[in-house]
């Protein structure tokens, strides 16, 4: 006697996506339909439907997005997870291994004081600006592609490496001294333009950087 293999169950998350996309606000008929289709997820679907209905109330009330001039630390952390996961996917390792490993190399790490000055000169900027770049205090999404290519050239690294580095959360130097008992968390990042405007650069230097 041969037995037929059990059907491969649809992953719960896919069922939830399908459920979420079926109607803006779930109703009893939709829940019943899905529960009939996926009886193994009956309780999850019902519970989830309640959450989605609550969510629909909150979502209908969402304010219009306001423009944000800064990158939130949580966005930087999520970008970091993206790069770590990408690294893991490409290396064929699991996410845990990748999270523990330093996936993003710091292209500024080996720069001596003189090299930093030379970099500042090469960018037509100053060392304050370079320090902001090094410490990732400038949000990636506000940098122009021209600027990113320029700094990748100056540092002689691949464009994707510099992009991955700037996408990570802002960095606080481990050698810095703090008044508080604990090391402070890195805050929000500045926009590229804010950083350019606030580093004591001459108008000519500012224009040069902003027009890259």
């Amino acid at each position: 006697m041969t037995s037929t293999p059990p059907r491969s169950p649809t992953p719960l998350r896919n069922v939830l996506y399908e459920f979420a996309l079926a109607k803006p606000v779930p109703d009893a008929a939709l829940v019943d339909e899905f529960v009939r289709h996926y009886p193994e997820y009956a309780s999850e679907l019902t519970e989830y439907a309640i959450e989605l209905a609550l969510d629909a109330i909150a979502a209908r009330n969402e304010p219009v997005d306001k423009p944000s001039a800064v990158t939130a630390p949580s966005v930087s952390r999520a970008m970091s997870r993206f790069h770590n996961r990408l690294h893991a996917v490409r290396k064929g390792t699991d996410a845990e291994t990748a999270n523990a490993a330093p996936a993003v190399e710091n292209p500024f790490a080996k720069l001596t004081r003189d090299a930093i000055r030379a970099l500042a000169q090469g960018l037509h900027a100053n060392t304050v600006f370079v320090m902001k770049l090094r410490d990732r205090h400038i949000s990636l999404e506000t940098m122009t592609e021209g600027f990113l290519r320029r700094i990748a050239d100056e540092l002689e690294v691949r464009l994707e490496n510099i992009v991955a580095y700037f996408a990570a959360p802002a960095y606080i130097q481990s050698s810095a001294h703090f008044k508080a008992e604990t090391k402070p968390e890195a805050g929000e990042k500045q926009t590229f333009e804010e950083a350019v405007r606030s580093c004591g650069l001459t108008p000519e230097q500012q224009n040069s950087l902003l027009n890259l």
Binding site: R13, L52, A58, E145
Partner: protein, 251 residues
Amino acid sequence: MARPLTKHTGNGDRYARPTNIEAVIDAALTLDWPALHKRALVRDRRSADYLPPECLVHLIRKAHRDHHETIRDQLLAILLGRCEATLAATLPDGRAPNAAYLRDEALGRLGELFAEDGTGDNADELDYFEVRFNAAFAALRTDLVRQEVRALRRSSPLPDDEAIARRPDTVLHSPATQENSLFLNQLSQAIHTLPPAERDALILCHIMGYAEDSDDPAKCTAATICGVTGRTIRNRLTRAAAKLSRFKEDL
């Protein structure tokens, strides 16, 4: 032209983007990067230049496939920034003791989905996000926080106003108005203060449309779902409505 989606529904139908999303994507694909970047930064949904999140997802995936890492990363950071704003509205501090962690987790998981795109068993998972981004993100977020939220549904009690208790259904299925938005804003906060049992009864009966109970033992009702009698459901609804009447007084 936007690349067709490959994900299928449980019925075997292939998912398709809404027509308006297809049109926005087609137009966006003709832009050069500076113009596209400028438009991606627009966050006012009323603006003609606004690119919906479904469109950003498509562009990020395309940039990834085409090895345009800079474009991919900049657009992804912009999309995550928008999601962060959504999370701040749907999962604010105080709704759950670990709300900040949950917001971080949802954002991080979304970021990882882009890294996993085109690989593994669920290679086209992001297709859902090109159809209706907010719904798919809600699914992702709710799935992530489900266990925590269940544990955290230990809230304070509230009293009886059938009209208020039934208004969520009316408002959710009617066009958005300023009055409804205000009502929903306050209602959403009030519902989250209800104890879980009362909240579930309210949602099941007044938003999802389940009957409180039924003489037919085979019929799925709020009572069968919650594993209690119809009388218990009615008591819960009465208590929930009474508590929400305080909310009505505040309006």
